[in-house]
C-alpha cells in the first residue's frame, strides 16, 4: 500500500522544483532528486545514523522502482548517497527525470511520515529548506501531511 498522499506528492514536487531552480549548475551533473536526498542525508543521519538513512532510502527506492522501472538502476552507497545516474538502460528525458525524482522523494517522505508523523516530517523539511514555501499544502484532499 502506497503511503504517498497527494500532499506528500505535492511536497516532493516542490522540493524537486526548488532544488532544480536553486541548484542549476550542479543539476547538470546530477538531477534535482539527487540534491534533495543529499540535503536530507546529514539531517536524517544525525537522527538515525547513516545506516538508518541508508535503509530508509533503499526502501523508498525499492518501492519507487515498482512504479518507475528505470529507478532500479540506482543504488544507495554505504554513505547513503545515490549512485547510478550515469547508466540507465535507456536515456531518460529531463521531464521524466523530474517525475521519477518526485516519485522517489515522495516515497522517502511517505516513510518519514509513517515513522515520525506529519508534524515532525514537515518540521524537518522546514529545517532543511527554510526558504521553501509550504503554503497551501493542506488544500488538496487527503490526510497527510
Amino acid at each position: 500500500m502506497s503511503r504517498v498522499t497527494p500532499q506528500i506528492r505535492e511536497l516532493a514536487e516542490r522540493l524537486i522544483a526548488f532544488e532544480a531552480k536553486d541548484n542549476e549548475a550542479a543539476r547538470r551533473m546530477h538531477p534535482a532528486v539527487f540534491h534533495v536526498c543529499e540535503r536530507l542525508r546529514p539531517h536524517l543521519a544525525t537522527l538515525m545514523g547513516q545506516g538508518g538513512f541508508r535503509a530508509v532510502l533503499a526502501r523508498a527506492l525499492a518501492v519507487a522502482s515498482a512504479e518507475i522501472p528505470w529507478l532500479a538502476a540506482l543504488q544507495v552507497k554505504d554513505d547513503g548517497s545515490l549512485e547510478g545516474w550515469e547508466k540507465p538502460e535507456a536515456p531518460v528525458k529531463p521531464k521524466d527525470l523530474a517525475e521519477s525524482g518526485a516519485v522517489l522523494v515522495a516515497h522517502l517522505l511517505g516513510l518519514l511520515v509513517a515513522f515520525i508523523g506529519d508534524n515532525l516530517t514537515l518540521h524537518l523539511v522546514r529545517d532543511v529548506w527554510p526558504k521553501l514555501s509550504l503554503e497551501n499544502l493542506n488544500s488538496t484532499k487527503g490526510d497527510h501531511p
Binding site: G49, G51, G52, I116
Partner: protein
C-alpha cells in the same frame, strides 16, 4: 572619583561574614509530577546524573520529560543516542506523550546519533565527538542514551581503567561546560557496586518494575544525590499519556495540619445515630463502618456525605466497587441529591479501580480532589474494594499505607468515614478481618440478627476515641430515607451479638417491617 561612603564599603564585608561563601546550587524542575519533591527540590544544576534500570521502566521517557521541561533555544539540550533506541524511533514513540513539543526539535533539543562512532571507533573518538558537539552548541543539558552500550563496547575493547578515565573526563568536561547531564543506561542492581560510572555520578536515579502475579508495578529510587536531601526508599511511578508521574512514599505527610482547637461534632445524617455517638462524630475523626453485605454501609456513607453537603461541608466519595452514576442514583432513591453538588463542584465521586494501584497514587488522587473541592468529609467505600484495586505487591503494606494515609488526612482536619465488609459468623462479631481498628477513632458495627423468623439488622457503636457513647445495640431498617434507627430502644433480647438472640421480654414485640404472609 567620588569616594564611597564608609557604610557602602563595609556592607559587602558584613555580607561575607554572615554568609561564608556557600555556593547556592540551583535546582531544575524535572517536569515529572511528584519527582521534584522526592529529589528534594529538583535536579541540581551542572550535576552529572545517571538514570538507570531494567528495560521498559521509563528511563528514556524520564530523560525526555526533563529535557522538554527545561530546554529552550537559549538553554538548548543535546541528546546523544547510541546503540539503544535510534533517535528516529524515540521521536516516533515519545511524540505520543503530552509533554512532547515538536517545536523544540532541532532548536531547543537536538538529537545526535553516535552509534557509528561507538561501533567503528574507540572511547577517545566517542569523547571527542561528544566534546565537538558540546563545544559547537554550548548546551545546558546533555543526555547520552544508552550509555550502557558505550560502556559495553569499551569493556570489550579496552581496560577498566580506560573506561574509568573516559567517564571521569566526560563528567569533568560536561560540568566544565556548565551542562547538567544524564547518562541513561540499562543496568541491574548488582552492577552498582564498584562501577566507576556510579562512583563518578552526582546523582543516581534507579527505575525498576516488579511483576507480581498479573500486575506490574513501576518504582523509582534516588540511590544517590549529592548536596541535597532526597526522600529515601522506593516510590511508585506510573507512565501515562502524560509521561511519568511519581508518588512519594511520604506523600501526604506534608499535608497542612489543621489548627488545634475544640473540635466540633458532626452529624452523620441519622439523628438517632448521632445521639448514640454522643452528639455526632468528632471533626477530623476516622470512622469505620463494619458490616456484612446488604447492611447499609454505603447508604450510611452516602448519608454522612449528604449531611455534610447540607451543612456547607464539601465532600469526596472514593468508590472502588460501584460506578459513580450508580452511587448517585442510589442516593437519589434515598431522597439525597448528589448530582447538584457534583455539578456545583462541592462533591466529587472518584471511581478508582485499576487493578495495579498503589496507596500513594490513590492518596494523590484523593489529595488533589480534596484540594479541588475544599473537602471536609471523605467517604471511602470500601476498604475491601480499595485493597482489591491495589497491585498484589502493595497489598502486603496495605495496613501501613492506610495508616499513613488516614493519619495525614485526618491530621489535616478531614473527617473520614470508611466502610469495610465483614462476614457474620453467628458465633462471634469481628470488626474486620484487617485488624485495622487502630486506624480508626470510631467504629460502628452493623450485623444481621435472626428475630422471630426474620433477618433483621442491628448496629452498635463499638468504639469512640473522643468521648462517651451509647452502648446500646439498636435495631435499624433501610427505608426510602436511607438508614433509620428505629424506636423503641430494644432491650427485650439477649445475645444479639451472636446473631441468634433470645427473647427475654415478656411480650412479643411487633416486627418493624411486615412479615411475609401467604
Amino acid at each position: 572619583m567620588k569616594k564611597p561612603k564608609p557604610a557602602a564599603r563595609t556592607k559587602p564585608l558584613q555580607k561575607v561574614a554572615s554568609q561564608p561563601g556557600k555556593v547556592i546550587i540551583r535546582r531544575m524542575p524535572t517536569g515529572v509530577s511528584g519527582l521534584d519533591e522526592i529529589l528534594g527540590g529538583g535536579i541540581p544544576e551542572f550535576s552529572f546524573n545517571i538514570i538507570a534500570g531494567t528495560p521498559g521502566c521509563g528511563k528514556t521517557t524520564l530523560a525526555h520529560q526533563i529535557l522538554f521541561a527545561n530546554a529552550t533555544v537559549k538553554k538548548p539540550a543535546l541528546y546523544f543516542t547510541v546503540l539503544g533506541e535510534p533517535a528516529m524511533k524515540m521521536l516516533r514513540y515519545q511524540q505520543q506523550y503530552s509533554f512532547f513539543d515538536a517545536s523544540k526539535l532541532n532548536s531547543a533539543i537536538r538529537f545526535i546519533n553516535l552509534a557509528e562512532v561507538v561501533m567503528d571507533q574507540d572511547l577517545d573518538a566517542v569523547f571527542k565527538e561528544i566534546a565537538r558537539q558540546v563545544a559547537k552548541v554550548g548546551p545546558s543539558f546533555v543526555v547520552v542514551d544508552s550509555f550502557r552500550t558505550v560502556v559495553r563496547k569499551a569493556m570489550t575493547t579496552g581496560s577498566e581503567l580506560e573506561m574509568q578515565t573516559f567517564v571521569q573526563r566526560l563528567a569533568q568536561f560536561l560540568t566544565g561546560w556548565e551542562a547538567t547531564s544524564f547518562l541513561v543506561g540499562e543496568y541491574v542492581i548488582d552492577e552498582v557496586r564498584d562501577n566507576p560510572v556510579f562512583t563518578v555520578a552526582d546523582g543516581l536515579i534507579w527505575l525498576s518494575q516488579v511483576a507480581e502475579r498479573n500486575s506490574v508495578v513501576r518504582k523509582l529510587q534516588v540511590m544517590k544525590l549529592r548536596g541535597q536531601a532526597s526522600v529515601p526508599g522506593l516510590h511508585t511511578i506510573r507512565i501515562s499519556n502524560h509521561g511519568l508521574q511519581a508518588f512519594s512514599r511520604t506523600l501526604g505527610l506534608g499535608v497542612k495540619k489543621a489548627l488545634p482547637g475544640r473540635r466540633r461534632r458532626l452529624s452523620v445524617g441519622i439523628p438517632e445515630l448521632d445521639k448514640m455517638l454522643g452528639g455526632g462524630v468528632l471533626e477530623g475523626d476516622s470512622l469505620l463502618i463494619a458490616g456484612p453485605s446488604g447492611t447499609g454501609k454505603s447508604a450510611l456513607a452516602t448519608q454522612f456525605i449528604a449531611e455534610g453537603l447540607r451543612n456547607g461541608e464539601p465532600g469526596i466519595i472514593a468508590v472502588f466497587e460501584e460506578r459513580p452514576n450508580g452511587y448517585t442514583e442510589r442516593a437519589a432513591a434515598f431522597g439525597l441529591d448528589l448530582k447538584t453538588p457534583q455539578e456545583k463542584g462541592n462533591l466529587e465521586i472518584l471511581y478508582l479501580r485499576p487493578l495495579d494501584l498503589s496507596v500513594d497514587e490513590t492518596m494523590q488522587e484523593l489529595l488533589e480532589a480534596i484540594t479541588r473541592v475544599g473537602a471536609k468529609r471523605l467517604a471511602i467505600d470500601s476498604l475491601v474494594g480499595f485493597e482489591m484495586a491495589l497491585a498484589p505487591d502493595f497489598r502486603a503494606d496495605f495496613r501501613e499505607s492506610l495508616y499513613r494515609m488516614i493519619g495525614a488526612l485526618t491530621g489535616a482536619g478531614i473527617t473520614i468515614l470508611s466502610t469495610v465488609e465483614v462476614e457474620d459468623t453467628f458465633t462471634a462479631m469481628p470488626f474486620s478481618h484487617y485488624a485495622i481498628s487502630f486506624l480508626t477513632d470510631d467504629i460502628i458495627r452493623l450485623r444481621y440478627v435472626e428475630i422471630d423468623g426474620q433477618l433483621r439488622k442491628v448496629l452498635v457503636v463499638v468504639k469512640m476515641r473522643g468521648g462517651n457513647h451509647s452502648k446500646d445495640i439498636r435495631e435499624y431498617v433501610i427505608t426510602d430515607k436511607g438508614v433509620v434507627v428505629i424506636h423503641p430502644r430494644q432491650t427485650d433480647f439477649a445475645r444479639l451479638t451472636t446473631g441468634l438472640p433470645e427473647h427475654v421480654g415478656r411480650e412479643a414485640e411487633p416486627a418493624p417491617e411486615p412479615k411475609a404472609t401467604k
